[in-house]
């Protein structure tokens, strides 16, 4: 059972375009994390959101946690080739000893 559904699975855009990646669930999470992974490397944490409705910005990246804490979005403004990578969302449930439930990821390619 996949608790977190990410969409789209693949995204290929030109430099300078904007994009949004979605992470949806029917479950409520105590926190939601976004990671980026480059080929041959482990995922690297970008942000953690914990409050329903919370918005966090990291330079050109904007992360939002849904009001009901069941979904999240990642918006990138003016994408650059350096943004290329696999974006993973992961939900934390406070009652399960700290394990995370990962989505399958969105593979983003930004062409110069």
């Amino acid at each position: 059972t996949q608790l977190l559904e990410q969409s789209p699975q693949f995204l290929s855009i030109q430099e300078g375009e904007n994009l949004t990646v979605y992470c949806n669930s029917s479950s409520v999470f105590s926190s939601l994390q976004w990671y980026r992974q480059e080929p041959g490397e482990g995922p690297v944490l970008l942000v953690t959101v914990v409050t329903g409705g919370e918005v966090k910005k990291l330079k050109r990246l904007t992360f939002q946690f849904g009001d009901a804490r069941k979904d999240s979005s990642l918006h990138i403004t003016a994408a650059q080739p350096g943004d290329t990578g696999l974006y993973l969302c992961a939900g934390g449930s406070g009652s399960t000893l700290g394990r995370l439930y990962f989505g399958r990821g969105t593979q983003l390619t930004v062409w110069p």
Binding site: Q2, G40, G42, P43, L45, L97, G98, R99, R104
Partner: protein, 111 residues
């Protein structure tokens, strides 16, 4: 800076061999995790540990075992490697209910 290291970046083993993958973290994290990552399937949790000598099965524990004798070290063991265990293996660590920090991964090929 959190550092999670894995014993090998690339490993090639034969079917039936016993394989050990080791992971070490330097942040005094209580929790440690082993995942495998396959194209289109995302990260799947194999086992995790929330304390020394304590372990919990994840979503796909069959064919694997783990060992945590010291807080900083978490080992994944493939008792008898099979070709369907060819994958990228990722180790992570964290404080309880906090963000996870990943190692660089081990690309295991079983022939």
């Amino acid at each position: 800076d959190v550092k999670v290291t894995q014993s090998s970046r690339y490993l090639v083993k034969r079917t039936g061999e016993k394989v050990f993958l080791e992971c070490v973290q330097d942040m005094d994290h209580e929790n440690m995790f082993w995942y495998r990552q396959d194209p289109g399937l995302g990260l799947r949790l194999i086992y995790f540990s929330y304390d020394v000598k304590m372990k919990e099965k994840g979503d796909i524990p069959e064919g694997y075992s783990v060992s945590r004798e010291k807080k900083e070290r978490f080992s994944l063991i493939l008792e008898s490697a099979s070709t369907n265990q060819t994958s990228m293996y990722l180790c992570a660590s964290s404080f309880p209910r906090r963000e996870q920090y990943f190692g660089p991964g081990t690309r295991l090929t079983v022939t």
